[in-house]
């Protein structure tokens, strides 16, 4: 586990030293703090961080800064000491080998994660960790890999890999845009609600039209892309929920620096529109 406090918000074009893996601050020395810290914990970034999932951490960090908070970016890898009082948890996908490495450790911290989930801590788990937040992953050979069961969902390995652009509709988050790449297929139980309904692509499985799952404030999804850059509504749900719980306040206006011919919102809209129009 490592921890550092990034620089307080500054005007545009400050060269940032964010690491492409594991979002870090600019150095070990503590920075001045507004006292409004939000602690973002990346689960298993070493083994479960593929297909741009790092982008989710970066978007949370930046948007927290642009909302006027101090993001504290934390990581947890197998064997680390579990960080105190995280406000947001995120996790990504991995290869089979990566999943093997973290599986036992995940079971070991499962109770702790259950407690956080039941305290309504917001979480976003993508692909591999989404699967392991369910009850189990059953391989094609029929052996079962235990998950931690925060999400009432079961996953079955298949021979067909579901790959391509995804467009899904969510009543809470609007249109969700992403890219899926998985061979495990997930079926939801009654304790969770689907995150969204797929209109392009497959999502959880090839049988129903569900994509992702939600239990309290825990979101699971198959969508890479990374998910949060093109779905700021989901990012702001995670941030807003954390801010509400930590400081009992609503999110202020986002003051993103304008560093392009289009505003951040306009860029995001255009990127979403393009993605939705591309071939599978």
């Amino acid at each position: 586990m490592s921890e550092s406090v990034p620089a307080a918000e500054e005007p545009r074009s400050v060269p940032d030293v964010t690491h492409p893996r594991g979002v870090q601050g600019p150095g070990p020395s503590p920075q001045k703090s507004t006292g409004r810290q939000i602690r973002v914990l990346q689960l298993y970034p070493r083994d479960m961080n593929i297909y741009g999932d790092y982008g989710n951490a970066l978007v949370l960090k930046r948007r927290l800064q642009w909302y006027g908070y101090d993001p504290v970016m934390l990581t947890y890898d197998p064997g680390d000491e579990f960080p105190e009082a995280p406000d947001i948890l995120i996790g990504g996908g991995g290869q089979d080998s990566g999943q093997d490495r973290i599986q036992q450790d995940l079971l070991d911290i499962g109770q702790r994660l259950h407690t956080l989930a039941d305290q309504d801590i917001p979480m976003l788990m993508i692909c591999g960790l989404y699967q392991l937040f369910g009850h189990f992953f059953e391989t094609r050979e029929g052996s079962r890999i235990s998950g931690i069961g925060i999400l009432d969902a079961e996953t079955y390995g298949t021979d067909s890999r579901l790959i391509g652009n995804v467009v899904a509709e969510s009543s809470e988050f609007g249109r969700i845009i992403g890219y899926e790449n998985h061979s495990g297929q997930t079926y939801l139980g009654v304790q969770v609600t689907p995150l969204a309904r797929v209109t392009t692509g497959e999502g959880n499985n090839q049988k129903d039209e569900h994509e992702g799952a939600r239990y309290r404030n825990v979101l699971g999804s198959y969508l890479h892309g990374a998910l949060l850059p093109k779905n700021p509504a989901v990012a702001d749900f995670l941030i807003g929920t954390a801010v509400e719980q930590r400081f009992a306040e609503k999110l202020p206006e986002l003051s993103a620096p304008s560093s392009a011919p289009l505003s951040l919102n306009a860029l995001t809209d255009q990127a979403r529109r393009t993605a939705a129009s591309r071939p599978r």
Partner: protein
């Protein structure tokens, strides 16, 4: 697929295949997939039969990054030794592409006037190819996250390279510094295995995807521990160190560190120092960028294995210094007296190395990102690259189908963007016009590069790309 019909005689196959090739070219196609398909259907043993005539057999070059440039260097090194070399030059790195290339070069009776074939094969297609035609030598470069949406997982890709190695009859050359590639040696017992590698001091310049994963436990800001006499080298080191484990040497790939036949021991701008066997040689190079220079080590190791003791050393070093990069791979054109560098980017590791190999200072930068099939449809990879090295200068133009994705990525890294225009041709015109007196650099995905290159042809001489 089981073919029950008798094969056509080779000359008839060739005639029909060539007709198909001509027809395809008339219609404006690339002239590779369709004629290849026709020939495969008519005579499934065609490829193996023709290549079996070659006295020195077939060499396969595969891996996720650098195949084209490495293959080109191998071909030029072998030609420099006086060999007649057949190669699939058109970038058609799949079986039908090889067939199509053959159709262009063989005699009507099916005689191929060459001593050896050096083929660049896409890893998935190579698996099929090596089952039909056993290569005598293979060179396996690396496994980086590359268009995983096509092949699934990085370990799957490594498995494909292992199959290539297992079907090789003579010798296999492996990248010692890529753990997945080096590990292939464990499943080989018939083949003679050799390695190309990096001196320990250089390893930090070539982070693997795994190093990037493990880098997250290390805080930033440790890069200042790297000191160097050469400011450019220091800057490069600092930048690259951000990606490796805090300036430490990345985890070693091979237990016991097997000796490599060719080791890259130092490099600079268009210059490399290689330890070839026991001899250390520094030479000027036409290729640029850390990766391309390391590819030269790969090419040298392969050529040494193919030729054994019969190498003309002077000719080898001459060829090495003259070998030009393959189109788009660090290619430099001149427009209105200013250089325009094209840098092909197709995966996170390549993009990171592209950014760090070529300093941003004093250069106008354009980035063009397409998401056609050949580029990979998944844009996730852009989030695995840090663009902070561009923050100081900013990016002059962002273009391509996914221009807005790229612009969004840059915005989250605090990189300012002067202009954004998804249409490549329009963007290129504007970019060139806006920076008449500055050297320019364009980072682009594969299909964006094809389009930009074509349009650059209206400004300057651009080498024909067959």
């Amino acid at each position: 697929m089981r073919v029950t019909r008798p094969y056509l005689p080779r000359p008839v196959t060739i005639l029909i295949g060539r007709t198909a090739r001509t027809l395809t070219k008339w219609r404006g196609g690339s002239g590779s997939a369709f004629p290849g398909l026709v020939v495969e259907r008519l005579n499934p043993g065609f490829l193996a039969g023709v290549l079996a005539q070659l006295p020195r057999g077939v060499v396969v070059v595969s891996g996720t990054n650098g195949k084209t440039t490495t293959t080109k260097m191998v071909v030029e090194l072998l030609r420099g030794q006086g060999l007649k070399v057949f190669t699939n030059r058109s970038g058609s790195n799949f079986t039908r592409g090889v067939v199509a290339s053959l159709l262009g070069e063989i005699s009507p009776t099916g005689k191929l006037d060459a001593d050896i074939a050096v083929l660049e094969l896409d890893e998935a297609h190579a698996v099929h190819f090596v089952r039909a035609v056993n290569p005598r030598y293979s060179l396996l470069l690396n496994v980086m996250r590359d268009q995983l949406d096509r092949f699934g997982e990085i370990d799957t890709t490594a498995g494909m390279l292992r199959i290539i190695a297992e079907h090789t009859t003579g010798g296999v050359v492996l990248n010692r510094e890529d753990a997945r590639v080096a590990k292939i040696a464990e499943s080989l017992d018939q083949q003679q295995v050799r390695y190309f590698g990096l001196a320990p001091a250089l390893r930090k310049h070539f982070p693997s995807d795994d190093d990037l994963h493990s880098a997250s436990d290390v805080p930033d800001g440790t890069q200042s521990s790297i000191a160097s006499e050469d400011p450019e080298q220091a800057r490069l080191s600092a930048q690259l160190n951000r990606f490796s484990a805090g300036g430490e040497t990345p985890p070693r790939s091979v237990p016991g560190d097997p000796p490599a036949d060719v080791v890259l021991t130092d490099f600079g701008i268009q210059r490399g120092t290689f330890r070839i066997g026991t001899e250390e040689v520094t030479t000027e190079l036409k290729v640029n960028g850390a990766y391309n220079i390391y590819n030269a080590a790969a090419a040298l190791a392969l050529v040494r294995q193919v030729l054994g003791g019969e190498i003309d050393r002077e000719a080898l070093l001459m060829s090495l210094s003259q070998a030009a990069p393959a189109f788009g791979r660090g290619e430099s054109l001149t427009v209105a007296g200013q250089p325009v560098d094209l840098v092909l980017v197709k995966n996170p590791a390549g993009f990171r190395l592209g950014l760090s190999s070529f300093p941003a200072q004093g250069v106008a930068t354009m980035i063009a990102i397409n998401d056609n099939y050949a580029d990979g449809r998944d844009m996730s990879w852009l989030w695995d690259v840090s663009f902070e090295s561009l923050a100081e200068q900013g990016v002059a133009m962002v273009s391509g189908v996914r221009a807005h994705d790229m612009a969004l990525r840059l915005s989250y890294d605090g990189v300012s963007i002067a202009a954004l225009e998804p249409q490549l041709v329009v963007a290129l015109d504007e970019f060139l016009a806006a920076h008449p007196d500055t050297p320019k650099r364009i980072f682009c995905t594969y299909t964006a590069m094809l389009a930009l290159r074509k349009h650059l042809g209206s400004y300057t001489e651009v080498e024909a790309f067959n």
